[in-house]
């Protein structure tokens, strides 16, 4: 692949071994995917944060890397969720030994100049790339949001790939960075009105069917941003979808529509019964959940507001976690939403979620979720049962 003279210098070690290694990773990725050159990026989202997922291997690598003062990001870079709430881990029952290692990981990332936001929704807290900009993001639900809703351009990076890109400010130009990879492969016609958890169910069923293809959705009613957040997360977890278009809605739909008119592409239809079946299939238990875990991807402020409004005057029988970023929590505190949720017996949990935290060690058995992504991962990643439904149906009060 072609490297500019400056990139050659980075690759050949002129700027030290850390930049050299990062550049080598980017060049290797470029070679694997037949990239012809590098492109400058304007933003990064780095995954590989939870001690539960990366373990001692990841911790050792990051501490090692961060010990080099040259290992610093040069574009705005935000961090994926960790395995605990970094501030309130003790109250939530997280173990000290686990937390100690988790905090070391976060510290290493901070040393590398990464914003320790610890959220899978960087686009809700200020990491908002512009349409058409090249970025390197590595959280699959954020990748699909950035490509589809913001119209930015990123591949589904792995943690080390995104970190290398953040340090070098570059990524190999291939895949979803190119126009031709953003053309829809099939039309998904949703023939019925969709509401709430339906979007996750649709994403789950379509993702399973299409793998890494680019779907073009036609919805009967207009989805809201929170719906698209759920839809994308599910598409990216049951499949490997990195980009979708929604007719009359997403920023590149016109480009996509023009291509559809030119080519005769496959179409799949989704009916009410498909959604109902998938919603049922996503639950692995018919027991009442002992923990309801919302916020996968992390809750937006208006989602927290909806939950709080529903809980006014209620007393919860099951435990409730609303997972979000510290940014949303700060606003929820000010607006009195946190107080309402806590009065009902729930908690706002920052920095982590039900998938990447060790909830299996906290004594819970059945987890209630309104996220198809969480329903997809909890049985395998935590070994626990899930009940999938809209949050209002999950909550049991006295």
């Amino acid at each position: 692949m072609y490297l500019t003279p400056e990139e050659e210098k980075m690759y050949n070690g002129y700027y030290g071994s850390t930049i050299q290694k990062c550049m080598e990773i980017l060049v290797a990725l470029g070679d694997i995917y037949d990239a012809t050159e590098m492109v400058d990026i304007s933003s990064a989202q780095v995954s590989g944060v939870s001690y539960k997922t990366i373990g001692d291997s990841g911790l050792e690598y990051l501490v090692d890397l961060a010990s080099d003062p040259k290992a610093k990001t040069c574009v705005p870079s935000t961090l994926n969720p960790a395995g605990v709430d970094l501030d309130n881990w003790k109250d939530l029952g997280f173990k000290e030994e686990f937390t100690k290692r988790q905090l070391e990981i976060v510290k290493a990332y901070r040393k590398m100049n990464i914003m320790t936001t610890c959220t899978c929704t960087p686009y809700l807290i200020g990491n908002i790339p512009l349409k058409g900009s090249h970025i390197a993001w590595s959280e699959s639900s954020a990748v699909v949001y950035a490509n589809s809703i913001l119209g930015a351009r990123t591949n589904r990076e792995g943690g080390p790939g995104a970190l290398s890109a953040a340090i070098c400010g570059k990524t190999p130009l291939y895949g979803y960075h190119l126009d031709e990879e953003r053309i829809p492969d099939l039309i998904v016609d949703v023939e019925t009105d969709s509401l709430g958890a339906d979007y996750g169910a649709i994403g789950y069923m379509v993702g399973k069917k299409i793998g890494d293809k680019v779907p073009y959705f036609k919805f009967k009613n207009k989805p809201f941003p929170n719906d698209l957040k759920s839809l994308g997360a599910a598409l990216a977890s049951s499949g490997a979808v990195a980009l979708y278009h929604v007719e009359n809605l997403t920023p590149e739909f016109q480009f996509a529509q023009n291509r559809i008119l030119e080519d005769n592409i496959e179409q799949i239809t989704i009916e009410k019964k498909d959604i109902t079946e998938t919603r049922e299939k996503l639950s692995t238990s018919s027991e009442k959940p002992d923990l309801i875990c919302l916020g996968c991807p992390h809750s937006s402020l208006d989602e927290i507001q909806d939950i709080a409004e529903f809980l006014v005057g209620k007393k919860l029988k099951n435990e409730l976690w609303v997972c979000t970023s510290i940014n949303m929590k700060a606003a929820a505190d000010r607006m009195g939403l946190t107080a309402i949720i806590e009065k009902a017996g729930g908690k706002i949990v920052c920095d982590t979620c039900m998938v990447v935290s060790p909830i299996e060690d906290l004594g819970f058995e059945v987890i209630g979720v309104d996220s198809a992504k969480a329903a997809n991962y909890i049985p395998s990643m935590c070994g626990l049962d899930v009940v999938f439904d809209d949050f209002k149906n999950l909550i049991i009060d006295y």
Binding site: I25, I32, I54, S57, G58, P160
Partner: protein
Amino acid sequence: MKDSVKIIKCKKISRGQAQGEVILSKDSLSFLGGVNPKTGIVIDPGHELYGENITNKILIIPSGKGSTVGSYVIFQMAKNKTAPLAIISIKAEPIIATGAIMAGIPMVHKPDADIFNLLKNGDIVEVNADQATITLFN
């Protein structure tokens, strides 16, 4: 050059060179859950190399698979001195490629010959990633 020496062209993934004994499998390998980083022993019961030690060997596999955390596992193996000497992959994928670079293990891919037919376990080869060659001494 001796008649018994054969040089195969390939493509570089991670720089460096190493010479050693081949351990090969036609099964793709996941380092996370597939290899014990403390011992270098393959622990995936479904893998052809189950129970074998890949430490200080030239590992030849079709490709990688599984979790992206595998990259960190390769790094940890290098720190524990349980890593392979070099990796030859038929077609590299990001997990092992990234891990090999992070760990400083020479790695090449796309060999220009049917390497599974030319080599068997225990053969001696040299991998030179910088010159993009694999040298066979059998």
